[in-house]
């Protein structure tokens, strides 16, 4: 991509963001604003050597809802983006080509959304997350429309281009987006019966410079036969490969106010999660099945226990296990303690066992937390089988939506004999309610 095109895309993207943010009459009646300024100092290994990174980040998020205007109802403007300046070595680890970049940033979201025709049609334009059905969660530059029809029926559709980092790697093999492509469209038709559930049929097609990247259709359902029981199911069929990419069923039952149990089964063919125009897509035909469940028990009002186990089996290959237990105790409003233990045995690979202890204590405007993590690997990773991390934070609530925090991390891992990171953070979170709402 030429520098001119890249620059033009940057200009258009940020001009759109600015236009959304510029003060104007009749601004959003509810505005959520969030700003986080972070300075992180840490050590990182690169090409066998060690460098010190000191990035200064500014993360901004602004959403204005119910913006008064003569055209659309529930007009919403959303912006979320970040800016980073590296005070140490080049932070953009993937940019190995000189010159080094010390200032960079990106947009996570920048969209405008409104409803017309008495809320029958909802439109969203800009950088957004498209969710639902076989699409899953797709970060997209484009348009999304939802038509609400009578009797609980509805249709949604979207079109656009999958997002790529920093605008400049769209349509190249360097994009970080797993939905690799330059053009995407899809949609979902559904029927909702309030209190009973919803059923939907969906499809997605992504093209990468004209070549097929993803072409799937699917169905999903959520049924609540009675109030305490929820049944969920979904399936995705790959039209390019003529195989099922994934199918899941799940039952969740609330026995009483203290006990919740769930059971689930999943069939997945992981190679179908690669783009179809990837050279890797031709080598494999993987099929995995997973079955398990979880159990949550509120022993007392302050003590909760959560247990989870899943068994995995790869067809014509190995098996794996995943289990986890977690107990959280909140003896007082400002005090929280927890312990966690679990393990993961991956199919045809390493396994690990871990324990974790964590807690938080609030004293007036101060909040302190401590998080201790220990992982023990069955086989050595980089010649070591142990990883320990201790993370402590101390925060101070300044008031008016402002909070300050310092945190430190000490680690002894397979890749670092010892490492210490430091982070200071100034955060601002505030909601402005400008109109009476009942």
């Amino acid at each position: 991509m030429s520098p001119n095109i890249r620059r033009r895309r940057l200009v258009i993207g940020f001009a759109a963001s600015l236009a959304m943010l510029a003060p104007r009459p009749g601004r959003g009646d509810t505005v959520d604003a969030s700003s986080t300024t972070m300075l992180i100092v840490k050590e990182q290994t690169r090409a066998g050597g060690s460098v010190t990174l000191a990035p200064l980040y500014e993360l901004l998020s602004v959403s204005a809802r119910e913006v008064e205007n003569p055209v659309a109802e529930h007009l919403t403007l959303v912006f979320s983006g970040w800016l980073g300046a590296s005070l140490g070595d080049n932070l953009v680890w993937y940019d190995l080509t000189p010159p080094q970049h010390h200032v960079f940033g990106d947009l996570d979201l920048a969209y405008i959304q409104g409803e017309v025709l008495q809320r029958t049609l909802r439109l969203r334009l800009g950088r957004q997350l498209v969710t639902g059905g076989v699409t899953g969660s797709l970060q997209l530059d484009g348009a999304d429309a939802l038509v609400r029809l009578p009797y609980g029926f509805g249709v949604s559709a979207y079109v656009g281009s999958p997002v790529s980092q920093r605008f400049d790697s769209r349509g190249t093999d360097a994009t970080f987006n797993p939905q690799r492509g330059t053009f995407a469209f899809g949609g979902r038709a559904y029927w909702t019966l309030p209190a009973w559930g919803e059923i939907g049929f969906s499809g997605v097609e992504i093209l990468d410079r004209g070549d097929p990247s993803r072409r799937q259709i699917g169905a999903d359902a959520r049924v609540t036969p009675w109030r305490a029981l929820t049944l969920l199911g979904s399936a995705a069929y790959d039209l390019y490969e003529s195989r099922w990419a994934e199918a899941t069923v799940r039952a969740q039952y609330i026995v009483n106010s203290r006990i919740l149990v769930s059971a689930d089964y999943r069939h997945v063919e992981p190679d179908l999660f690669l783009p179809r125009d990837s050279i890797m897509a031709i080598f494999s035909f993987e099929r995995r099945n997973e079955v398990g469940g979880s159990f949550q028990y509120g022993l007392t009002r302050t003590l909760t226990l959560l247990l989870d186990y899943h068994y995995q089996k790869q067809v014509d290959s190995g098996e794996g296990h995943r289990f986890n237990g977690r107990a959280t105790w909140q003896p007082a409003r400002d005090t929280s303690l927890g312990v966690e233990a679990g393990g993961l045995a991956a199919i045809n690979d390493n396994s690990y066992f871990h324990v974790r202890g964590f807690g938080s204590q609030r004293l007036d405007r101060f909040t302190g937390t401590l998080d201790l993590q220990e992982y023990k690997f069955n086989q050595d990773v980089n010649g070591h089988n142990n990883s320990f991390a201790a993370i402590g934070t101390l925060g101070y609530l300044i008031g008016g939506g402002w909070a300050a925090q310092a945190s430190g991390t000490a680690e002894a891992t397979p890749y670092y004999k010892s490492r210490f990171d430091l982070m200071v953070k100034l955060a601002y979170n505030q909601s402005y309610h400008l109109r009476e709402v009942r």
């Binding site: 200009v11 940020f14 943010l21 509810t30 700003s35 090409a47 901004l60 602004v62 959403s63 959303v78 912006f79 979320s80 983006g81 970040w82 993937y94 639902g132 970060q139 997002v163 790697s169 093999d173 970080f176 797993p178 070549d211 999903d220 959520r222 109030r227 969920l232 799940r250 969740q252 609330i254 769930s262 992981p270 999660f273 690669l274 990837s278 890797m280 080598f283 979880s294 949550q296 790869q314 993961l344 991956a346 045809n348 690979d349 690990y352 807690g359 938080s360 998080d371 993590q373 690997f377 990773v381 991390a389 993370i391 680690e411 891992t413 909601s431 400008l434 109109r435 009476e436 009942r438």
Partner: protein, 340 residues
Amino acid sequence: MTPRTLLLGAALLATLFGGPAAAKEQPKFTFPHGTHVEAGISCATCHGSIAQAKAVGPTVHLTLPAGDAAKDCLQCHDKVPAAPPPREVERAITFSHADHLPYVKGDCARCHTALVEPGQTKAPVPPMSTCTACHNHSEEYAQAKCQPCHVDLKRYPLKPIADFTHAGDFLRTHGAMARTNAATCAACHEQTSCAECHAATTRPFKPDIQWPEQVEALFIHRGDYVSRHRVDFNADPASCRRCHGSAYCNSCHNEQGISPLSPLTPTSTPHPAGWNAGAVHGPAARQNIGNCAACHDQGSQTTCVNCHRNVDPHPPGWAKRHNKTTDVANNGMCRICHVQ
């Protein structure tokens, strides 16, 4: 300073100093509800149409009495006062006064225990405990079934995760929930909330870097994830692939000198001796091709092509599922080895 830097700076300044607009002044209420309730004036005298209201809003159901109906007013007032200007009420909840009033036998005070008085700008709204006094919503609450009663909950401050449980193994189940029920998620969460984890393509770091103080949160990549990411990937490659493309993996592997195209340490290899033998690396690739893609997904430049141009790499059953002519015509990847 580059145009990019200028634009980024401008966006930052616009957000910080453009800021939210000053709060719009709401007109103050002038009607003394308490005085009229004490005088025994029924709510229905002025709010008579509420009995037929199937929904809240968009305006208050206020109709001042006239004619004979106004005789209660004229006991104290010389004439019926003018109605206040219409006050818009936004619909944030699905609620039918018409359906509920018969249950309380028209006694509004059963729910409206506090009334707005002169000088106030906000009318007190019955709290949710008023609803749960009759409706058992504990199960709906635990399962995040806020709809169809709540239309939009985003305006309310999010409660701590410990209070609103999102019960069970929510980290792994919320995706399945969202697939069929995104509207429920959207009732409380703006996309900015989803993007904190799901905008993995553009976010500069993992969530626990930004929020180390959230020790109870179910962050997947907490702590030293570099050491265990390979085990997690082999346990569930599809989950990783939902957020991270091959280039994301390769960018770091390249930097660490373990990727074949890395300019830093081109001679290093993570593979054991004898790996190049087909009988060794072939089964591994068949079982989890994602492992290979984390370093070798470079299209025609991938090292796999060198040999597999001449050694059929396709898994059993490939020919049955594919039309070679169509594939080669429509997919440039096929043309790396096949002639159109």
